[in-house]
């Protein structure tokens, strides 16, 4: 049965936003009445006002852009490496034997534990943050690519061979598309790790970016700016998730689970 059957098709998409709106209203009422100090939680209206001010001054876009750049470059480097290593380990037994244990050992070190070392190596430069993001992204992509390739139905590979596909045809027409659902799961995990890593590394050592903006605002007790930064992270995370979903729906049209 359809949820909220009496609502029109236009009104139904608004349903998921009812709870957030209600929370906002309660929040606004609590701060305006003085029940909650504005230093602890600024009113939503104050947050909106400071977001607007930051937008007008260009500061917001400046920080947003540097965070976005770090996220995407780090993601491409780490994801690319993880994908390549996963392909090699998944397809070539001797490569797996040689490298998999090493990768699994490194994987089990929380990459954020490397922050002190990364600061010593790279200072508070861009390289350190890219390094951390790439490291955080590498393992989910590696693992899921590896398992995706291993899980491809051996019967389909055998069929492909007996129907005249060469090694390249087997790889591009059977193995890669068969591993794709799993690879995309890895990509979604990796996107989550990207933002997590970025938040932490930007709040510890940075001279630009949303995390830097938040830490700077904290020093001056600008709670409203801190909240703006947090909301921006939420928004960016949502955008990344939408992109991953779009990819899944496009690439996995054949799969009834995504259609």
């Amino acid at each position: 049965m359809m949820a909220f059957p009496r609502l029109s098709a236009l009104a139904r998409p608004l349903v998921p936003w009812l709870v957030p709106l209600l929370l906002l209203a309660v929040w606004q009422a609590a701060t305006q009445s003085g029940f909650v100090s504005s230093r602890i939680a600024p009113a939503p209206s104050a947050v909106a006002a400071s977001a607007y001010a930051l937008l007008i001054s260009g500061e917001l876009l400046h920080h947003l852009w540097s965070s976005f750049q770090r996220a995407s470059i780090g993601f491409l480097i780490g994801g690319g490496l993880g994908f390549a290593l996963g392909l090699l380990s998944g397809s070539i037994r001797s490569f797996e034997l040689l490298f998999d244990t090493t990768v699994q050992m490194i994987r089990n070190v929380p990459h954020l534990a490397l922050i002190p070392l990364v600061i010593l190596w790279f200072g508070i430069d861009e390289t350190g943050k890219l390094f951390l993001v790439a490291l955080g992204v590498l393992f989910p992509v590696y693992l899921n690519t590896f398992h995706g390739i291993r899980a491809v139905d051996k019967g389909l590979i055998e069929m492909g061979k007996s129907y005249g596909l060469g090694p390249i045809g087997i790889f591009t027409q059977v193995i890669l598309p068969g591993a794709l659902p799993s690879i995309l799961v890895g990509v979604r995990f990796a996107l989550g790790f990207t933002w997590l890593t970025l938040i932490v590394s930007e709040t510890i050592a940075a001279s630009s970016g949303i995390g830097y903006m938040a830490m700077n605002a904290r020093e001056f007790f600008q709670t409203d700016v801190v909240v703006v930064a947090i909301l921006l992270y939420a928004l960016l995370g949502k955008v990344a998730d939408l992109a991953a979903r779009w990819l899944e729906q496009r690439l996995l049209r054949w799969n009834p689970a995504y259609a």
Binding site: S91, I149, G160, S162, G164, I170, Q173
Partner: protein
Amino acid sequence: MYSPSTRPQPTDLDSNSTPDASSGVAVSVAALQKSFGARRVLHDLDLTIRPGEFLAIVGHSGCGKSTLLRLLANLDPASSGSILLDGTPVARQQEDLRLMFQDARLLPWKSVWANVTLGLKGSRADLRRQALEALNSVGLAERADDWPGQLSGGQRQRVALARALIHKPRLLLLDEPLGALDALTRIEMQGLIERLWLRHGFTAVLVTHDVTEAVALADRVILIEDGAITLDQPVALARPRERGEPAFADLEQTVLNRVLRQDHQAAPVTPPAQPTRQQRGDASLSAAQWAAYPSL
């Protein structure tokens, strides 16, 4: 493993040319042996199949019939002995044979028509035209743009049949392709396979559990027991065959009795060395084969 085909690409599946002996390949198997480790699955097997003949292989699970088909399809190497197609070793005659598996093995990420043209080269429009012709011959042209996941089990096997026939094979190997289908779909599929075989004149080898199916389709039924042929029964019934006819029923009963007789003698026939391995049957055998297959 594959050399480029020297034969012209097939174009017209629906040509009404009368089948002649040259469209089927002659198969000659001599002193064929196959062992998996210490377990011997086929011993000294000799078999000759005439061009255009429809041969059915029946037998209990684990008797070696599927192994024989995999050797004929060149999926596994023989331990010793030879398999010749028109006098040439099977390893060099890949383009002449196509295999239909027990499960359809369609690629779920390719549309039905793209599955049918798997392994063919040519322009997209030309491939699609060929696929539609092949699908038309199995009655599924209207599903060409669907995903395999949207088809029923019987429809998937019909697509697999079209995919095999588009290559104009001179030897079609069928590994219990109808085993997983319901009874009605199975009878329809048997009719379809028979019609296409009559039209194209390829040599057909069908492995099946179903004695009725074997008698309905084959020119000759052989029984494999413990890796050797123990019955070679011609089926001299006129086509199309009616399952209810007395001659059909008699023959079916003869073969069935012969197949079942093994049960009463099973204990003395089984080699005493490792009886438990002997009884594990087809499933464990194919598991061993998969384990032996690296992923690339």
